[in-house]
Amino acid sequence: MAAAASSSAPTTVVALLLLLGLPSRAFAAGDALDDEKVLGARPAAEVELVQTRITAYDQTGHGYQSQAGPKAGPGSETLHVLQAQGEFVMKQGENLTHRVWVPVDLVTSASADASDRYYAQPDVVSHASAQNIAAEVDYQLGVRAGPETTWTAGAGMHYEENFLSWLYTLEYQRSLAEDNATLTLSAQQALDWFDAFRLGGSRAGRTSRSTSSFNVGLSQLLSPSTLVALAYGFTLQRGELSNTWNSVPSTDGERVSEVLPRLRDRHAASVSLLQWLPWQAALELRYRFYRDDWEVTAHSFEARLRQRLFGRLVVGASYRHHTQTGVFCFTTRTPLASSYRTADSDLGPLDADSLGGSAEVTLPTRRHGTLFLTFGYDHYVRTDALRVNVATWASGLRF
């Protein structure tokens, strides 16, 4: 027995080693069977999103800055905008994301007229009849610098009739505490170069404006169904901060040009809460506080509810209330000796309410990702009787 036992000991040891070794060999083989071998080689570049969106704005109202009305009274602010946007997002390898975005606005407005740039005076005096086209191209590159860190850099250019803009952005994003929180720091710079107008409509050379923005944001998971986000932003503007064609009724019954300070610093802080609701819905609440050195204080509150129906249909409803004080120099009848003055209704004291609805259908395809179709409508109304109806339609593919 003892001899048999002693002769079987090496066999047992070999068997044990084999048993111990096989799983390790299997794991080693498993290591070799990485995603690439199982799923095939990952393409060098993959499209993540292609979409287009058309939005129509239909605005009616009156403001004292507009000359499309009585000399001492408010003029028309009637405006129609047809806005087309296209977006293309592509992932290159594991760490690079490219995004190209092109918005184009077709505008009828009471502002300067593009069509008579060289041959006639701009349409700043008569009526809201001009047609302008504004276009922009933006490119952003996102670089995943580590498992928790992403850098994004972007540049863009905006063109519309008398107006050129160059835009730059840099963003740093870092996830914290096992992805429970995300910290975002960003900076943006816009340089605007545009024609200045005299009150009668003739051009007075070129002028410029600089806008620098710095922002910090933090989102934090509070529970398996709750997310809270905090944000603060500082914006510094320098240069010609009027559009130069706005006018102000004066105490002598005439109109004079709007004059605004050449410096403005703005602060805004917001808090938002996103809550999952157990009946396949999500509720978002947001409050934003704003203050600047032109004595504007504003509060905005927004609520949004999204509800999934029948699996592939998501309907949404939103409400927003905004209230603001006017800038220190807002007036509808200015003394001629005033240093600063504006009658721009956007810069006056006002309350605004916006009510909207949306519907989105998603349809998975066999080979081309998920097709989505979205329709939305918003009605915006201010206490000074300005009203805007907005209809928007989007379609695209998410891969």
């Binding site: 096992e178 605007d192 529970s223 986000a229 938002s272 999500a282 989007a394």
Partner: protein
């Protein structure tokens, strides 16, 4: 208030906010296997970029309170 004092006060407020944010970010309260709801498209914490742009255009060109939302203020329409 002198400009320097105002700048200092703002910087301190910003630093305090950042500190609070980082402190909050240090709390790992939801393990990864309990985050299924956050993967649902309903729980996007913002609109898609094009929808956000058209909403921003609606508000920032008709109100005096643009900026400070992590997006650029200015550029494009010179109505502000």
């Amino acid at each position: 208030m002198p400009t320097f004092a105002r700048l200092l006060l703002r910087s301190l407020l910003l630093a305090a906010g950042l500190g609070l944010g980082v402190a909050l970010g240090g709390c790992a309260v939801v393990p990864q296997n309990r985050r299924a709801h956050f993967a649902d498209p309903l729980m996007r914490d913002s609109d898609d970029a094009l929808d956000a742009h058209r909403k921003r255009k609606l508000y920032t060109t008709r109100e005096a309170a643009a900026g400070g939302d992590g997006k650029r203020a200015g550029g494009g329409c010179s109505c502000q």
